[in-house]
Amino acid sequence: MEKVRDYLDPQTLARLQGLQLRARLIVEGYTSGVHRSPFHGFSVEFAEHREYAPGDDLRYLDWKVFGRTDKYYLKQFEEETNLVCHLLLDTSESMRYKSEAAPLSKLEYAQCAAAALAYLILHQQDSVGLVTFDREIRSLVRASSNPSHLKQLLYVMEQAAAERKTATGPIFHDLAERLKKRGIVIVLSDLFDDVDSMMTGLKHFRHRRHEVVLMHVLDPAEVDFPFEQVTLFRGLEQLPDVLVEPRGLRRAYLAEFGRYLRKLKAGCRMHGIDYVPMRTDQSLEVVLSSYLASRG
């Protein structure tokens, strides 16, 4: 048992080969710690028998129960409890960044998170799909609840190469149109894009009655800016290079970054979007479990 807990550390996972094993270990660790299915919180509607009340639709009365007990109970539909979750994985160039202090790049961390979530969802017989994108959709795997579907998801994730620029706004609009069935949309990205455009896209998901969870994957260096030495920062995603004295600029950078985060969080609050910050030096199991537990 202790050994399994050790594997849950992201640094330990980084040393392991193959994403499938990583995801499995994480989910096992989680379930063994909580002793109940974590995905209760993910259910959009809960299935149960409920006593009839005037005004209820008589089509949903369970006549078998009425025959046995002579009481009116409403019948729960199996197919409506089946959750559909869409994992939107950002594979833009900025996700490739990994600082010295971080064990994984943002993309690797996001892949681990996506794999763990997919494992969890499939484990509870719900459906999960995957979209990888940068400035356009790179791959789209339809949602399925088949346990073997996990392999395909992991394969697609492994093939993702972070090389291009991000453009989240148009992508989210496009996807909102494509994903017809209402479900949970989980975005795993560093969200280094125009916040207004991004929010417009996410609002589209909400408009389509999707529940949106924004998992914001950041490197600790991006949050703390701990650099001391004069550094030539080479811009990813076709941004220019800049030579700066980090100690003098730290305060200004943190102010800019804080402004961006505040704007992002305010947008999420406004549109009822769950905002889950993730630092790549944090234990993934802790982040996921605390978030899932907070959903009840």
């Binding site: 960044y97 004069v230 030539l232 941004l239 030579l243 100690r247 003098g248 200004a252 950078y253």
Partner: protein, 703 residues
């Protein structure tokens, strides 16, 4: 270096100009900055949008901060280099040369005339005040040494003191000795002092010697031999070349003074129960006669008698006292003539050893069982004419053979007579030498047994055993025996105290004493020996000389009747008594000394009655009177013309009556004299370091 004028009133200079070469180090912060800009690391960065926004927003501020920090760091290096170069800021037109610090030798007159108190402060107090003022008002970086011009002069602070508090502490601790002042010795002392400071402290490029003195004539117009005067002028000239001489006059012209210049007993030997006459001399050094001047006699601290005396202007008077001592031992006598502004010389002290009796040992070199046939028989009678056992006999003689010299302890005797002793061994010579060192006296009577060569050899400083020089006890060398009778003696004008009593008493027969044989006595050239009595042909008959702490009397003829009729003559008894009294009086003289003379092992610098305690193992107290040299009591001054023409002809110096007059930095304190800046600059460096840290922290470059 030449001063760089900042503005008309101030001159800026550097002591260590070559240090400015290190200013090149000021480029270090700039070079480090440029180097750090060239040596950078590279990394890919995802959140570039926010970094670019921060750079765009903060570029001007960052540049400003970097320039500020760079400027502070460069300034730090510049200031440190500047501090090492020892800058100073001085007023132009000051008495001292800009570009250097000054070494001031403060020479304070330590003669007791400086104790003169014209107001509530003595001249010495005023000199100390002025010295303090000079130190406190001199610019920072000036150094001081301190010399007390006494006799002999003393260097109080010989290493230049930079810290004013240290030298002020030494000045405050100065105590005026009751000595005279020796100007030539002081110049001879200060000259090497200035030279050594010149040699060892090149930073002190200018030197000043400030004499704080009352310009008393005795000090400043010393009576010197031609050679000594020439040497004094040479050294003064060299000193004036090495340093600027400043004489600050603290004296008051026409100062009046009265001094007790002498005090003595008129009797060489003072005995219990016998009256003694005391005579005190008073001298008026002023222009106004003193009438009814009170004079007090104190014995052992008790006031005994007061008399009044008229002392003419610039004249002397004497006053007599008589006193009878009732107890043996050392008694302190003091005569006071109070009432003027110089208290030191208004008192005179005298210690009188009062004896109950004297013990004399007569060594008989030719003892005989027959009365008056031995060499010392007449002498013993002459020493105690009333009989040795008489109650009131002052002298108790004991006659012994030569062996007593080694067998007995001589310390119990006041005087030892050696009559016709043939010769002395080296051991006996050492015993006699030790006896003289302890204050005893020897009287040699010669005779037919005396071996002149042995005397000269063992007692006359000839080579002793093993080649080492023996003691030199004899006041004269013994020559051949002169057997030509002499019937007339020459008292040499009765100058010597031993024969003074015979003056006017021809019937005593001293001058007609027949001397049939005598040894010719040869007095070495420059010998301190004195001839007491001579024969008509000029041959000395009695000579004396102080040896160690005792006295030695050498009589060229015998103490018995074989060589002379002297023992049979009526003058013999008083002559012997005078010899004994004079020998015993030596002890009195030992106990009355002048200031500056050695008192046992110590040198006294104050006048008064002192008790010298010696031992253990043998505890012994010796009371001594220490008196001042009243030559110093003459307060007349040398004037400026005499100083310029007679004392220091051709020696450049400046004469002032105050420190302000001397152009000293007295008005406005150190600011007037400028400032020694390194310490201030280092404080600035400290402040900038703090500012740099604070700004670095504020700008995000530290912590």
């Amino acid at each position: 270096m030449p001063p760089f004028n900042l503005y008309p009133l101030l001159a800026f200079g550097l002591v260590n100009l070559p240090m400015l070469g290190w200013l090149a180090a000021a480029a270090a912060p700039i070079l480090i900055h440029l180097w750090s800009r060239r040596k950078y690391r590279e990394m890919s960065w995802a959140a570039m949008e926010y970094l670019l926004a921060a750079v765009q927003r903060q570029t001007r501020r960052l540049l400003f901060e970097q320039w500020i920090l760079l400027a502070i760091r460069t300034l730090l290096v510049v200031l440190i280099v500047l501090a090492v170069a020892e800058p100073y800021l001085e007023r132009t037109g000051m008495a001292f040369t800009p570009g250097s610090h000054t070494h001031r030798v403060l020479v304070i007159d330590g003669s007791y005339s400086m104790a003169y108190m014209p107001t509530d402060k003595s001249r010495f107090d005023r000199a100390k005040e002025l010295a303090r003022q000079i130190v406190e008002e001199s610019p920072e970086g000036d150094a001081f040494t301190l010399v007390l011009m006494s006799s002999p002069p003393r260097v109080i602070v010989g290493t230049p003191a930079l810290e004013p508090s240290e030298i002020v502490q030494e000045i405050d601790g100065l105590r005026l000795p009751h000595t005279t002042a020796d100007l030539p010795a002081t110049v001879a002392l200060v000259l090497p002092l200035v030279r050594s400071v010149q040699r060892e402290n090149p930073r002190l490029a200018r030197h000043e010697v400030c004499f704080l003195t009352d310009l008393q004539r005795l000090t400043w117009a010393p009576q010197l031999s031609e050679a000594a005067m020439s040497e004094f002028l040479r050294q003064s000239g060299e000193l004036a070349q090495a340093a600027a001489l400043q004489v600050i006059d603290l004296g008051q012209p026409g100062a009046e003074n009265l001094a007790v210049t002498g005090l003595r007993t008129l009797d060489p030997l003072v005995a219990v129960g016998r009256g003694v006459s005391l005579e005190a001399d008073l001298k008026n050094f002023g222009r106004q006669a003193r009438s009814r001047q009170p004079v007090e006699l104190l014995v052992d601290g008790r006031r005994i008698e007061q008399k009044q005396l008229d002392v003419p202007a610039d004249g002397e008077s004497s006053v007599d006292f008589s006193y009878r001592f009732e107890a043996p031992g050392d008694h302190a006598i003091e005569v006071r003539a109070p009432g003027d502004a110089l208290e030191v010389d208004n008192r005179r002290f005298l210690v009188v050893p009062v004896r109950e009796s004297l013990r004399a040992l007569c060594i008989d070199g030719r003892p005989s069982g027959t009365p008056f046939r031995g060499a010392a028989d007449y002498l013993a009678v002459a020493l105690a004419p009333q009989g040795a056992d008489a109650d009131r006999a002052l002298v108790h003689p004991e006659v012994a053979t030569e062996s007593a010299l080694l067998e007995r302890s001589l310390s119990g005797y006041d005087c030892v007579f050696l009559c016709n002793v043939a010769q002395f061994t080296a051991g006996e010579a050492r015993v006699l030498d030790t006896y003289l060192k302890s204050g005893g006296s020897l009287v040699f009577f010669l005779g037919d047994q005396v071996l002149a060569d042995r005397y000269n050899h063992e007692l006359g400083g000839g080579a002793g055993q093993g080649g080492a020089a023996g003691p030199n006890l004899l006041p004269a060398r013994l020559g051949s025996v002169a057997d030509r009778p002499q019937f007339r003696l020459d008292p040499l004008d009765y100058r010597h105290p031993i024969v003074q009593a015979f003056r006017g008493r021809g019937q005593a027969g001293l001058l007609t004493t027949p001397v049939l044989k005598h040894f010719k006595l040869d007095l070495p050239k420059d010998s301190p020996a004195k001839i007491v009595l001579a024969m008509a042909n000029g041959d000395p008959l009695i000579v004396e000389q102080p040896v160690h702490r005792g006295r030695v009397v050498l009589v060229a003829t015998s103490a018995d009747a074989s060589w002379t009729a002297m023992p049979l003559w009526p003058s013999f008894v008083p002559l012997v008594q005078e010899i004994v009294a004079w020998c015993a009086g030596g002890q009195l003289q030992q106990q009355n000394i002048m200031v500056g003379e050695p008192l046992d092992a110590a040198i006294t610098a104050q006048s008064g009655i002192f008790t010298a305690r010696s031992g253990p193992p043998l505890g012994r107290n010796r009371v001594c009177a220490v008196n001042v040299d009243t030559a110093e009591s003459d307060l007349s001054q040398v004037d400026l013309d005499e100083l310029r023409n007679d004392v220091w002809p051709g020696v450049p110096f400046t004469h002032h009556t105050s420190w302000q007059d001397a152009g000293g930095p007295s008005v406005g304190g150190p600011a007037r004299g400028g400032a020694y800046l390194p310490v201030d600059i280092l404080y600035l460096v400290l402040g900038l370091l703090f500012l740099e840290t604070l700004l670095g922290w504020r700008f995000g470059y530290h912590g």
